[in-house]
């Protein structure tokens, strides 16, 4: 009990644990644990045969955190910055360190603008965004959506109803806005 110095009442029978649980205690000695000590060089080397890696070519200007003095030697080249979202993200990287909330909030804003840009752009292609197939919502039928949720006390049922609103809400608002604009234009033309 915590009010005396006595040890736990629940003292395990380690022999019983060893019999019952495969591998019980095989890493009891911290010396065999690979993460102990936290910082240590790899005994057999890492495989690196360089002190500083050769530099990857920078084929287009690559944004970087201002906490980096220079571009690291290797980097990802997927989805380079472009459009308005690219401008927002470029500002986040060029102006604010990772320690500033503005850095991350601008990046999140850039993400939302990026999604809107791509949704709009997709309507000019042969494969426009399809919220039914892209959300995978049809798996609600194929993967037992109802029986998975009900008849058991799941905490997430309390907020999962928000997800369709978060996904479809902007589309519905955009549709309502578009209809309102068209109506206004039509009324204006009739006058």
């Amino acid at each position: 009990m915590p009010y005396t110095s006595a040890p736990h009442d629940h003292r395990p029978d380690t022999e019983e644990l060893r019999r019952r649980i495969p591998g019980w205690g095989v890493d009891l000695d911290p010396a065999v644990r690979p993460a102990v000590p936290r910082e240590r060089p790899e005994p057999g080397g890492t495989g690196a045969h360089w002190d500083l890696p050769e530099r990857q070519s920078e084929t287009s200007q690559r944004e970087r955190s201002i906490e980096h003095e220079q571009l690291p030697p290797v980097f990802g080249t997927a989805q380079p910055l472009k459009g308005l979202s690219g401008g927002i993200r470029r500002l986040a990287y060029a102006r604010y360190s990772e320690g500033r909330a503005a850095h991350w909030l601008l990046l999140i804003l850039g993400d939302r603008v990026d999604a809107i840009e791509h949704h709009l752009r997709s309507f000019a292609t042969l494969r426009p965004d399809n919220p039914i197939t892209e959300t995978g919502v049809l798996s609600e039928v194929r993967r037992h959506g109802l029986s998975s949720r009900f008849g058991t006390r799941r905490a997430d049922v309390r907020h999962q109803w928000l997800d369709p609103i978060l996904v479809a809400g902007p589309w519905v608002l955009a549709g309502v806005g578009a209809v309102a604009v068209v109506n206004r234009v039509v009324r204006g033309a009739r006058r």
Binding site: H8, H10, T14, L17, R20, P22, G23, W24, G25, V26, D27, R33, P34, A35, V36, R38, P41, T46, G47, A48, H49, P53, E54, E63, R64, H68, P72, P73, V74, F75, G76, A78, Q79, Y93, E98, A101, W104, L105, L107, D111, D114, H118, H119, T133, E134, T135, G136, V137, L138, S139, E140, H144, S148, R153, R154, D156, R158, H159, L162, L166
Partner: protein
């Protein structure tokens, strides 16, 4: 090639993309045979991770066959079947030289606070991931390893993140013989952390979740006692009562940014993105561990601030330990445990999904349908 691409929050689809090319002399190109969706991929899927760009291919858990290598690659050749740690790391920087592969300083221009991770946004370096037919693997002489002949492919896949992370989490708990360990979250990482806690000599292992089918897995796979937090009035009191009023010796957060259990925390973080993550499990861990105890954090959080009850941690004299797992460091010992039959990592896999059905796979995993614990992606399946 066919690849999963992100189209905005809650939306993904399969698109035709260019096959990646060698961009650095130590790159390799790998044809993906098996990939997995990780619980942390859901943070990207839900739009929580800053700088997740439309068109990005997720996937940091994958195995495959080397199809091409760069001019300086010495350890791999085309045809080798490899398992690839989720960390991208150079093996030579200040941090890699100290074994902190997940903190490599040479692979991520976008941030210094995190290393490089395949398919995990530009905040983690801007590398497309492995939920596709092909993937670029930087530092081929450092990261990937040839899959041992005796190892099952699905076991190898689990070693690339979930198993290594769970095992690492148990080690960070600094578990001693007879210790009582509580693990928050019965997803793959939590299950592996619970299982690994026994390896370190735990006397009791308690797993907390709200999904009954996952708690059942914790009982059978990880031999753990379980608590369904949705069925108790006050989880912290329940855990204190179960530990003679002291609290547990070690607590492991294997949930991270989208934890449930407090509606305000969850909605402000996961839905409104006003926090870097919903720290419910972390707060429970700090409140239920004993004074002087250790909290190990394996759950992934975004880089923004979160409403963490730090005062409790200070007042209780807790040790807080955390990091992204340096995966490859865990492998030799884990391989021994698998080979000795102490655990079968693929036991946590519940679904195998063709790449073409990726959107339904994400929804099923996100909404926790059909008893889903760990879904695999099979690029070659039609």
């Amino acid at each position: 090639m066919r690849a999963m691409v992100y189209r905005g929050p809650y939306k993904v689809r399969v698109e035709e993309k260019e096959i990646p090319r060698i961009e650095h002399p130590n790159d390799a190109i790998v044809r993906v045979e098996l990939a997995a969706i990780c619980g942390s991929d859901l943070h990207l899927y839900h739009g929580m991770m800053p700088d997740t760009r439309v068109g990005h291919t997720f996937g940091h858990e994958f195995i495959g066959v080397v199809t091409e290598v760069g001019a300086s690659v010495e350890r791999l050749k085309p045809g080798d079947r490899v398992m690839v740690p989720f960390n991208i790391f150079c093996g030579s920087c200040y941090f890699c030289a100290r074994g902190l592969y997940s903190n490599c300083h040479n692979v991520n221009p976008n941030a210094t606070a995190v290393g490089g991770i395949y398919g995990y946004s530009h905040t983690c370096g801007g590398y497309d991931g492995g939920q596709s037919e092909f993937v670029r693997v930087p530092f081929a002489d450092v990261g990937p390893s040839v899959i041992p002949d005796w190892m099952d492919d699905e076991d190898a896949l689990m070693c690339t993140d979930a198993l290594a992370t769970g095992y690492f989490g148990a080690q960070l708990g600094d578990i001693g013989e007879g210790d009582t360990v509580v693990v928050f979250g019965a997803g793959p990482v939590g299950l592996f952390a619970a299982k690994s806690s026994w390896f370190m000599g735990a006397g009791r292992v308690i797993v907390v979740d709200h999904l009954e089918y996952r708690l059942e897995k914790a009982r059978t796979f990880a031999h753990a006692e379980t608590v369904n937090f949705a069925e108790v009035d006050d989880l912290v009191v329940t855990l204190k009562r179960a530990t003679d009023g002291l609290g547990t010796d070690v607590a492991i957060d294997a949930v991270g940014a989208e934890a449930d259990g407090n509606l305000t925390q969850h909605i402000t973080a996961a839905k409104l993105k006003l926090q870097g993550g919903s720290p419910i499990a972390l707060n429970w861990a700090m409140d239920s561990v004993r004074k002087g105890g250790t909290v190990s954090v394996m759950g992934a959080y975004g880089p923004m601030f979160s409403a963490v009850k730090f005062g409790d941690a200070m007042n209780k004299g807790l040790t807080l330990r955390m990091n992204q797992a340096p995966v490859k460091r865990q492998w030799p010992r884990l391989f021994e445990h698998i080979r000795n039959g102490y655990l079968k990592p693929s036991d946590v896999i519940t679904h195998r999904i063709p790449l073409e059905h990726i959107a339904e796979g994400y929804h099923m995993f996100s909404a926790k349908l059909d008893g889903c614990i760990k879904p695999l992606i099979v690029p070659s399946a039609g």
